[in-house]
């Protein structure tokens, strides 16, 4: 994605801060620059274009209302935005997960489960570092962490998908998280 350069990050931070001061033009520009990314995130989790559109709309209406609370010292704008869209998408999944998961038709729009960055996507230094740390995990654990992150599935759902007991899934993920923390915080 294009926000890998520090200049672009700063620019997004600035736009979000301006949106926080009710600058509609900055908000529109922020949408123009980030909506494709956030829509990709929503679509990946929800597998349904209509739902992803609704969540995207909820995300940006929340962005507009909460932009004033954005603090660039705590997170970059793009992290703040992606987090917000993921949270909205996960909330949506939890609300009616049965329909979404049990309806095979809804899986048609699945974005390919890319183990590597999408073609043409530039990755950040942070991503490459995380990738290195992920590769140190057991293959099954690594794929569980990815599956969890990209699909927003609960422990229960992950265990069912991987056909392992719930306890096993929990310990895979927790062990992975601890290992990642150690690796990343070195």
């Amino acid at each position: 994605m294009s926000v890998t350069s520090p200049a672009e990050r700063d620019e997004l931070n600035r736009l979000l801060q301006q949106a926080g001061r009710n600058d509609q033009k900055a908000f529109a520009e922020l949408y123009r620059r980030t909506s494709s990314k956030l829509f990709g995130v929503c679509l990946r989790m929800l597998h349904d274009r209509g739902e992803a559109e609704e969540v995207l709309q909820e995300t940006y209406t929340t962005v507009w209302r909460r932009a004033a609370s954005f603090d660039s010292a705590k997170a970059s704008a793009i992290t703040w935005l992606v987090t917000l869209s993921r949270n909205k998408a996960i909330d949506r999944l939890r609300q009616h997960r049965e329909e979404t998961l049990d309806d095979p038709a809804k899986l048609n729009e699945t974005v390919d489960d890319q183990p590597t960055p999408a073609a043409g996507a530039e990755t950040s230094q942070e991503y490459r570092r995380l990738q290195q740390c992920l590769e140190e995990l057991e293959p099954q654990q690594q794929s569980s962490v990815r599956e969890a992150f990209f699909t927003g599935a609960t422990y229960n759902e992950l265990a069912a998908r991987c056909k392992v007991p719930l306890g096993t899934m929990k310990s895979w993920i927790r062990r992975s998280l601890m290992q990642l923390r150690t690796c990343l915080d070195q």
Binding site: M1, T4, Q24, F27, A28, Y31, R32, S35, S36, K37, F39, G40, V41, L43, R49, G50, A52, E53, Q57, Y60, T61, W64, K74, A75, T79, V82, T83, R86, I90, D91, R94, V111, Q114, T116, P117, A118, A121, E122, T123, S124, E126, Y127, R129, L130, V145, A148, F149, F150, A153, T154, Y155, N156, L158, I173, R174, L177, M178, L180, R181, D185
Partner: protein, 259 residues
């Protein structure tokens, strides 16, 4: 830097960021984050660690009506100030712009449509979008409609709220050239309406068809054909692929909308 809170049993901030908690646990952590700086910091740290995974998610451009809905929901100033990124955004701006000063723009439209075009705009050949401004008899735009062909959906956004008498509501029709009106569905006077387009309707969409709005009982026309006054009409314009010049309907349709 590990805070003591994160260590030992306490990985739930990480689990929250990863997204594996169930609804109740999520809500619990969210509440904690809202009231405790320590929890908020722990969550922010995990976001910084894990969010780079999102780098690998490909970008997908949302349909232009999403921005229109956001503007509508927030009651932001129209016209849309989103600047073009792809060819279609040009079109979006165009149709919103059309929605504002339709009468004044009609002449300019005719100039645009009479530019030399080697081939007619294919009806549904380019998977993408079509757009229409449904003008009222007084020349002002009543609704703007965007059709997402690939996903068989139409979003109809009111430009200016139209008054209806008690018990009456607007119904949208698709009128194929020389054909009978086909009901698309009831639409809202004030809010955007999303309508599914069945294959029969999709097949009729194109620059030779017209959209029209009639006044009907709340539940829709009882006969399957318009029973009340037709209060607005609009030609359908094919949206070109990115980078193409804006394509509009032929002169005939542009004229017809003014009838």
């Amino acid at each position: 830097m590990n805070t003591p809170l994160e260590d030992g049993q306490n990985l739930r901030y990480a689990e929250y960021v990863l997204g594996v908690l169930d609804a109740d646990m999520r809500a619990e952590v969210a509440r904690e984050v809202a009231v405790s700086d320590e929890a908020a910091t722990a969550v922010a740290l995990w976001q910084r660690r894990l969010l780079p995974l999102a780098d690998t998610i490909g970008e997908v451009t949302p349909a232009p009506y999403v921005w229109a809905r956001i503007q509508d929901a927030l009651q932001l100033e129209a016209p849309a100030r989103v600047t073009p990124r792809t060819g279609f955004w040009d079109n979006l701006q165009l149709w919103r712009w059309l929605g504002i000063g339709a009468t004044a723009v009609a002449a300019a439209l005719l100039v645009v449509v009479s530019l030399p075009r080697p081939t007619p705009v294919p009806a549904v050949a380019n998977a993408g979008y079509m757009a229409s401004t449904i003008q009222q008899d007084n020349g002002s735009a009543g609704w703007t409609a965007t059709m997402d062909l690939e996903h068989a959906r139409m979003v109809v956004v009111p430009a200016t709220p139209v008054a209806f008498e008690q018990g009456r509501a607007p119904e949208l029709w698709l009128i194929p050239a020389g054909g009978k009106p086909i009901s698309v569905g009831m639409i809202d006077r004030e809010k955007p309406t999303t309508l599914a387009l069945d294959p029969a309707l999709l097949a009729q969409l194109g620059p030779t068809a017209v959209l029209a709005v009639s006044v009907e009982p709340i539940g829709g026309s009882p006969t399957g054909q318009p029973t009340g006054a037709v209060i607005g009409k609009g030609a359908i314009g094919a949206a070109p692929n990115a980078g193409d010049r804006v394509a509009l309907t032929g002169r005939g349709q542009a004229d017809r909308t003014r009838v």
